[in-house]
């Protein structure tokens, strides 16, 4: 939003307009996000099936496209079991915490540039903060409570071990995750996601896009992806819910909608990670623009979505290819490999930027 000077007489009007636009944007983004979450489950099932010589969901709708709907209905109507020995307030709060923090980080993620719809114009983003990246990090760092409290309040040893593993793992990998982003921040000179994307416009030698991944941050990209996989508890880092050891880890005791909330949180986190990776390393909505004006207008969003889809696909691909780490190996990898590499990347980027300046 461009800067406005608030005056007392039109303050009410502008607040109303601001509220309406914000609510519409929020509703649209949340709607899209939840649909994306539902369909990433479908995508996961379909891709994994094809990796494994299976068909995946085919019964509900064409290509099983209505499967997420059926799953949702199933989750709602399933009996919601609450074991007698759980610590009830936290047991109920944990999935809510998980899903709320997973979804709310989408608020600062930009999907595209400024658009004009009739007389109104807006950024394709719920809100643009100049510390957007930090907000995302802060919100995702709060997500660990959902997992940890679920494990603790279930009053189950498997769940407790899962919760402990999850919290230790997420706190550890957050360090290298945060450090891997510092290089990008140094290059862009801003913490605003919009500025970071804007800094990646243009091309080298006419054909290589000036995305950060091609612009000295390749190492950071891989560190980010690995840490992000660990942060979202996905294979090969899915130890908190390693079904072969801990049955289902922190959500062993959950059923019905509460279980579905953890599921939603996991996939929403994946979407967030994919969005951040796209924005920070793959140039966000930048990409070749062509075609008729209407197409040109929505082209950036399409590019953004394609890149996010690529990351979601990568997630699924990795999950169904790799085995799982062991817990000590995971910790050693995070602290002894990723962290030094991330620090080295920060130092290197800082030196290069200082030398160029």
């Amino acid at each position: 939003m461009p800067k406005r000077h608030w005056k007392t007489k039109d303050i009410l009007l502008s607040i109303t307009a601001f509220l309406i636009i914000s609510i519409v944007k929020s509703a649209a983004v949340i709607g899209v996000l939840l649909t994306a979450v539902a369909y990433s489950v479908w995508l996961e099932r379909k891709v994994s099936a094809h990796i494994q010589n299976r068909w995946g969901p085919t019964r509900v709708g064409p290509f099983g496209l209505l499967q997420p709907l059926a799953d949702g209905v199933k989750f709602i109507f399933k009996e919601d079991l609450t074991q007698p020995h759980v610590y009830k307030p936290l047991y109920i709060a944990a999935p809510i915490i998980a899903v709320v923090f997973a979804i709310s980080s989408i608020a600062v993620i930009p999907f595209g540039n400024w658009v004009n719809i009739g007389p109104w114009g807006t950024y394709l983003q719920i809100t643009d903060l100049n510390i957007g990246l930090l907000v995302v990090l802060g919100i995702t760092s709060m997500g660990v409570y959902g997992v940890a409290l679920a494990g603790w309040s279930s009053n189950n040893k498997y769940a407790l071990l899962g919760g402990l593993r999850a919290s230790a793992q997420m706190v550890s990998y957050e360090v290298s995750l945060g450090l891997s982003l510092v290089g990008v921040v140094i290059m862009a000179g801003s913490l605003s996601l919009r500025d970071i994307v804007d800094a990646q416009g243009g091309v080298f030698w006419g054909f290589i896009p000036r995305w950060n991944i091609f612009h000295g941050q390749t190492l950071a990209f891989f560190i980010y992806m690995i840490s992000a996989y660990a942060e979202t508890n996905r294979t090969p880092f899915d130890l908190p819910e390693a079904e072969s050891e801990l049955v289902a880890g922190y959500h062993t005791e959950y059923s019905a909608m509460k279980f579905a909330m953890f599921f939603m949180a996991e996939y929403a986190n994946m979407v967030t990670v994919a969005c951040i990776a796209t924005l920070l390393f793959l140039g966000g909505w930048h990409g070749p623009i062509f075609g008729p004006p209407l197409l040109q207008a929505i082209m950036p969003v399409i590019w953004f979505c394609l890149k996010v889809f690529f990351f979601m696909f990568l997630y699924v691909w990795v999950r169904w290819t790799l085995p799982r780490f062991r817990y000590d190996q995971l910790m050693a990898f995070g602290w002894k490999v990723l962290l030094p590499l991330a620090v080295a990347n920060v130092v290197y980027t800082a030196l290069v930027v200082a030398w160029r300046a």
Binding site: L134, G138, S141, A148, V171
Partner: protein
């Protein structure tokens, strides 16, 4: 106006969280109310224009330090607090004393309020300004704290790791 509403809102949450911390007997509830306090403090920092501090408050305090507390509580499987007779003097003299002192300070402050009304975002606490201060004017303290935290990490590792002899103590033999 908006500022006042938001201040009251988050301030009340803050106070409620702090009092809940005292009232709860189970440490995990106390920890969660402390997280609430910290999150609403972050909101207050935003009101004061210190947005970077607010973000760091959430990431470091709520996201890392309190996770440590929660992990410790989970790890030690701490149950509800048992009520024991603590130091009588602390309770009998300390509590009224502290409350009285606090009231006195509050009364002093509110009696003659200076009214430097500042609006939302009046002060730029952006990352670049903070960075300039931190890496220019306060470089030495910054480096000293980095050494401090390194030492703290090493100390924590040494303290928390158990000697091998304890873990594999001798036991009766035979199945």
């Amino acid at each position: 106006m908006l500022h006042l509403i938001l201040f009251l809102f988050f301030g009340l949450i803050c106070v409620a969280g702090a009092i809940n911390l005292l009232a709860q007997s189970h440490p995990i509830n106390s920890a969660l109310s402390l997280i609430v306090v910290m999150a609403s403090l972050a909101a207050l920092y935003l009101l004061l224009g210190a947005e970077f501090v607010a973000a760091v408050q959430v990431i470091v305090y709520a996201g890392a330090i309190m996770v440590l507390f929660v992990i410790t509580i989970m790890l030690l499987n701490a149950g509800a607090e048992e009520r024991t007779r603590g130091s009588r003097i602390a309770t009998l003299i300390g509590v009224p004393g502290v409350v009285a002192g606090g009231t006195l300070v509050a009364w002093t402050l509110l009696r003659r309020p200076d009214r430097p009304a500042f609006a939302i975002g009046a002060l730029k606490g952006g990352p670049s300004d903070i960075a300039r201060l931190l890496f220019h004017d306060y470089l030495l303290p910054f480096e000293v704290t980095s050494v401090l935290i390194l030492i703290a990490i090493m100390g924590a590792v040494v303290l928390a790791s158990r000697p091998e002899a304890v873990a594999r103590g001798p036991r009766k033999d035979g199945e």
